[in-house]
């Protein structure tokens, strides 16, 4: 598409074509290309070839999971009841999607209108991340058709997961609402946009509360397993706070990563405002992330001191822990700081990739790698890995599809 644009193709940015007639929904869906052109573009893209390969293998296995049961795609482990589906799909995806509430807070609450041009990307990153976390959950649940049981059929309000379930559900609706304006512009429903505008403050505050609690709750889930998670990754008192603070830097870093990817691969879709502001905003995000990183580092250390886990640092697990802390926390912290000081957005982008990696490593360490550290290491079944890749690929496909159409990376030009 980038090459198309350089050849003079102009993507949809308003309801009217150049000649003044209106785009139909179908035309909008096809990015303003003719069906033939559209197909050609799809076929030409090597990334799509990769996706097709993934689906060729992954879809049958995903279907098989629902026909033959979890036992067919996992090791049916009783000792490791949670595998990659939750380890990656819930515990990594959700913090990486914390960008939604933070962008909402920055722009709507703190009135930092300068972040406006990236706000929608942050919101979308949040919405899709949560949506697909729920997808992963649906793959993992033994009886996915009972998903609403904790809401309406049989309530266990004293459980942390109850809180996660309710909050993720409510927050998802918040995020949908927050993105209604983008959809409304694209579909030409001005009323919907106006309505959301009225309640956006409420939505944002709700977003902060829900996010604080469920990001923390994901950590608190592991406090149920004091003997199973390695002490270096476990803290009865601070687990929730560690998970919450790391979600802050993870969400911001993920936003930097995604915005970088859009800049590289979807430049055709970005408008001037977005592209011109991106470096400055990247540094702004980097600054926020570095503050969260330093807070995180401090509470990690406090957590270790509080439980007096120092002796574990000398073990093999300790070395692994140090690796996570150095590569995933300290290094990005240093890089972010340097980037902000020297106004070097590319450096900040590199730091963001590291921070995202660090977050993912932390969650996988807590949920899978150091879990049952006194028993044995479970290696996920290959089918489990294939399913995770397939669902994640779908996440990317949907993400890309929305970005290509709705006014996320560009500003919609109203009629008149």
């Amino acid at each position: 598409m980038n090459s198309l644009k350089s050849q003079g193709f102009a993507p949809v940015v308003s309801h009217r074509k150049k000649d003044g007639s209106e785009w139909t929904v179908k035309e909008k869906l096809m990015l303003g290309l003719s069906p033939k052109e559209y197909m050609a573009v799809q076929l030409r893209n090597p990334f799509n070839w990769v996706l097709w390969a993934i689906y060729a293998v992954g879809l049958p296995i995903l279907v098989g999971r629902f026909i033959f049961g979890l036992g067919w795609v996992t090791h049916s482990s009783y000792d490791y009841p949670w595998g990659l589906f939750l380890g990656w799909g819930l515990f990594v995806m959700v913090p990486l999607s914390a960008s939604g509430f933070m962008m909402g807070t920055t722009v709507e609450l703190f009135g930092r209108k300068d972040f406006k041009s990236i706000e929608r990307l942050g919101l979308l990153n949040g919405l899709l991340g949560y949506l697909f976390a729920v997808m992963f959950l649906q793959v993992d649940l033994g009886q996915p058709w009972r998903l609403i049981y904790p809401m309406f059929v049989s309530l266990g309000p004293a459980a942390v997961l109850f809180l996660v379930a309710w909050h993720v559900a409510t927050y998802l609706s918040c995020q949908v609402a927050e993105l209604v304006p983008a959809f409304a512009e694209w579909m030409d429903f001005p009323k919907a946009k106006q309505f959301i505008k009225k309640i956006v403050l409420g939505l944002t505050v709700a977003g902060i509360i829900l996010s604080t609690l469920h990001q923390g709750a994901l950590g608190a889930l592991f406090t149920y397993a004091p003997g199973k998670v390695h002490p270096l990754w476990y803290s009865s008192s601070f687990q929730w706070f560690q998970f919450f603070v790391s979600a802050v830097f993870a969400g911001l870093s993920m936003l930097i990563v995604v915005s970088t990817l859009t800049k590289w691969f979807m430049r055709w879709r970005c408008d001037e405002t977005y592209l011109n502001n991106l470096s400055k905003l990247t540094l702004g995000l980097a600054k926020g992330a570095s503050l969260a990183l330093i807070t995180y580092l401090v509470i990690k250390i406090i957590g270790i001191a509080h439980d007096n886990d120092w002796q574990y640092l000398a073990s093999g697990w300790g070395a692994w822990f140090m690796f996570e802390m150095v590569v995933g926390v300290i290094l990005p912290l240093i890089i972010y700081t340097m980037a902000v000081r020297n106004s070097n957005a590319s450096l900040a982008r590199f730091g963001a990739f590291l921070a995202v990696f660090g977050l993912a490593l932390n969650r996988l360490n807590t949920a899978l790698i150091t879990f049952n550290w006194q028993l044995y290491q479970e290696i996920p079944h290959w089918r489990e890995v294939v399913i995770v890749v397939t669902v994640y690929a779908t996440y990317i496909v949907v993400y890309r599809a929305v970005l290509a159409r709705m006014p996320i990376l560009y500003t919609w030009k109203e009629n008149k």
């Binding site: 009841p81 033994g142 309000p157 459980a159 309710w166």
Partner: protein
């Protein structure tokens, strides 16, 4: 029984919504840990020194609970040599609610056999972690599970400190948690001891009120101090369990986790549950305040511009 009411009150009163529910959560948490179990609940005292590893208990459980046929006969000793991942002895599965493990203890003349099943904790981790309230601790002491509401998130398996609940992964249509229910609906409810207890030829297990069993356990230890280690496993572990153990070998040498502590598992979650109401009440005010502040700046600016 008061505790029971508090629980059902919570359950009924919180259907309203997430926010209120979350507040209730912490109330429960504050009280958690003080719940010492039902005073007259039943229990089982397992005297490991007496077990000969005949696996009659396993056979009895299989029959009583209508479990699928075993992979090997119940009189086949080769199961003792079976190892699951990590070189660990076999554990409870979806097909076996109880298993007997063998430990060759250096210096002990005969191997020690250990029967494993749900310990029916006083304040069960499985119960407190379940978000659809599928578990129930009956006044008789059994920890029951309701398969008709279970969603299959398997948090209870994460939470159980004894690695007891198994999951029928093999079923695509109706996978559920499988664990010992202390033969509640067929026996315990009617005052009868569990099937495994009654079947054991060695009477390794004594069935009775938990508080009586504790006395009995300590009496046995004090009568034969040379025959037992001075520890009743389950008396205090994770807040106490209905099934308790006597052994002549230190418990950490025969696969028992002796680092669990005496606090019920829910007490480790309390610190989080305690902040929930704070966030719910303080955050809205705090952030609306921030918003007003930052907008005031804008407003002032606007006025400046005007003037």
């Amino acid at each position: 029984m008061k505790k029971l009411h508090r629980r059902s009150f919570l359950k009924g009163g919180l259907a309203g919504g997430a926010a209120i529910a979350a507040v209730g959560t912490s109330k429960h948490a504050e009280a958690a840990g003080s719940f010492g179990g039902y005073p007259d609940s039943m229990g089982v005292l397992v005297d490991l020194t007496k077990c000969v590893g005949c696996r009659t208990c396993e056979a009895a459980c299989n029959k009583e609970q209508g479990l699928p046929a075993p992979d090997k006969s119940f009189d086949d000793p080769s199961v003792f040599e079976e190892k699951r991942e990590g070189g660990l002895p076999r554990r409870t599965t979806e097909k076996a609610y109880t298993v007997v493990q063998k430990y060759d203890v250096p210096g002990r003349e005969h191997p020690l056999f250990r029967k494993v099943q749900c310990n029916h904790c006083n304040e069960p981790a499985c119960l407190t972690s379940c978000f659809v309230n599928a578990y129930k601790k009956t006044p008789e002491g059994a920890v029951m599970y309701d398969p008709t509401v279970c969603v299959g998130c398997r948090t209870c398996m994460i939470a159980c400190p004894f690695y007891i609940p198994a999951y029928s992964y093999s079923s695509a249509i109706n996978p559920v948690v499988k664990k010992c229910i202390m033969c509640y609906d067929t026996r315990l409810k009617f005052g009868k001891p569990p099937a495994c207890v009654e079947a054991c030829p060695q009477e390794v297990m004594t069935f009775g009120k938990r508080k009586d069993l504790l006395k009995l356990a300590h009496q046995r230890i004090s009568e034969k101090p040379e025959a037992y280690v001075d520890h009743v496993y389950g008396e205090n572990e994770v807040g106490g369990t209905a099934w308790m153990y006597l052994s002549d070998v230190p418990f950490d040498k025969i696969g028992y986790d002796t680092h669990l502590g005496d606090q019920p598992i829910i007490s480790y979650v309390k610190e989080f549950l305690a902040i929930v109401p704070m966030v719910l009440t303080i955050w809205p005010a705090l952030f609306t305040g921030f918003h007003l502040l930052s907008n005031r700046k804008d407003a002032l600016k606007n006025e400046d511009n005007k003037s």
